[in-house]
Amino acid sequence: MNTKISITKLKKSFGKLDVLKGINLDLSVGSIHALLGPNGSGKSTLIKCLLGMVIPESGEILIDGKKVNGSWEYRKSIGYMPQIAHFPENMRIRELISMIKNIRNQPSLEEKFIRLLRLEDALNKALKTLSGGTRQKVNALLALMFDSPILIFDEATVGLDPVTRLHFKQHLLKEKEAGKTIILVSHFINEVEELADEIVFILEGRIFFQGSLFELKSQTKEENLEKVIAEILEKNGQEKLEYV
């Protein structure tokens, strides 16, 4: 297994609340890793630590074998799509694209993704006039257009129309084939079943399970992933409704 991201003993707490309690995680090249876990389990904090937006108390994050905590250059190799994104409201989409291009100063493939996400007609619209779905498309465009070797999607497909969602998912598989490391946070179980090569299940700030879908299912007697997760959560005293 060719490791792209390696996280060791990562700890983070907010006040008295321990959110990450020593995460050890290796993520490989050329696969889609689905990050699962109930609300408040630490998924977003983990991703934000990876991006340097949250500063961990201890632990190490290595990308391609290099320690990245505290530096910023490594973010050139990450495309990140947050759950909700708001942009400078008075800007037009075209201007936002050129701004991010200008900031990153990297070759970009925006034309390709503008077509894929069907954003051609909206390019000259001010961001404040956009619908939630179109904003989400812009968000996806910004994450994808730099052909980054690491792609992180936090609830990426929420709000996307069915056609765009289909294109998006097909594209993710292509990106995987191209050797990208993809992290997918999703609450859509069928999406996870469809796309993920590996499931990373976080529970109360620890990695509860890491392995293939098949391995996860074999831990319980259930066949359906949704039921598997519900059973795990119930066993651990978690509220199953949070996940369904």
Binding site: F14, K48, L51, G52, M53, V54, I55, W72, E73, Y74, R75, K76, I78, Y80, P82, I84, A85, H86, F87, P88, E89, N90, M91, E95, M99, I100, N102, I103, R104, L142
Partner: protein, 259 residues
């Protein structure tokens, strides 16, 4: 940093609030210059507007802008950029565009009505202190909103800071002068003035209008200090410190903050 500055500035210059701010200074300066017999008189009236409105708008608009930019900041934080670059860029773009509106809003009527450019020196002081007050109170605004996730608290605190600097500090100052009137107070008066950027700006402009003769003994003391080169340098260094101190603390805290 220049890139963040440029794009944020372009975004800000389209903001309706900034246009209102510009129009406010344009109309109030226009009216005051129009109705005053000379530029010096208009400047005294404008000064009252400046020392109250510039800090108020800078701090309120600053807090509003920071809270509205939170998500944009998160977008930028995920890009290959240093934190200092992002925050300094945002700060400079907001404070510079506010300062730009202020300078243009009062500068245009001044040039229009004052073709002989009399009192240009005093007007220069007026502009410079206005610009510095803008940078000071925007820095406070950013610091306050960074420390308070809760918007209501942030706005409340910023109004308190404004109220303190513009109104309460003067009250305390006067009380001190009353209470200790039997003692020599020149040095204390000078020190307290230097410690309040709003008072300092007011005094700097007034003294340049050469009406300090009307201010009695303390006016003479002020004039002898602020009229001298070391005095002017001290005054501007103090204003500069009022910009750098909150800005430095803001950047320091921002570099360690979790978003």
């Amino acid at each position: 940093m220049f890139k963040i500055f440029k794009y944020s500035l372009l975004d800000l210059l389209r903001s309706r609030w900034l246009i209102f701010y510009f129009l406010f200074f344009l109309t109030s300066s226009f009216l005051l210059f129009y109705f005053s017999s000379n530029a010096a008189k208009a400047l005294v009236s404008l000064l009252h507007v400046e020392v109250a409105i510039v800090p108020l708008v800078s701090i309120i608009f600053g807090v509003m802008y920071y809270y509205n930019s939170r998500e944009f900041i998160e977008l930028l934080l995920a890009q290959p950029l240093k934190r200092d670059t992002i925050f300094l860029g945002l700060y400079l773009s907001l404070s510079s565009s506010l300062a730009f509106c202020f300078v243009l809003g009062t500068g245009i009527p001044f040039i229009y009505f004052n073709t002989g450019f009399s009192d240009i020196g005093s007007f220069g002081y007026y502009l410079l202190t206005g610009v510095m007050l803008t940078y000071i109170f925007t820095a406070f605004a950013f610091l306050i909103s960074l420390l308070n996730e809760n918007r209501i608290k942030g706005f409340g605190l910023s109004i308190l800071v404004w109220l303190y600097m513009v109104v309460v500090a003067d009250g305390i100052f006067l009380l001190l002068l009353m209470y200790f009137q039997d003692y020599p107070l020149e040095k204390l008066t000078l020190a307290l003035t230097i410690l309040n950027p709003v008072d300092l700006s007011r005094v700097l402009v007034l003294l340049n209008l050469e009406i300090s003769a009307l201010m009695g003994y303390s006016g003479a003391v002020f004039n002898s200090f602020f009229g001298s080169i070391p005095g002017i340098i001290t005054a501007f260094l103090s204003l500069l410190m009022w910009i750098l101190l909150p800005l430095f603390v803001f950047l320091k805290i921002a570099s360690r903050k979790n978003f």
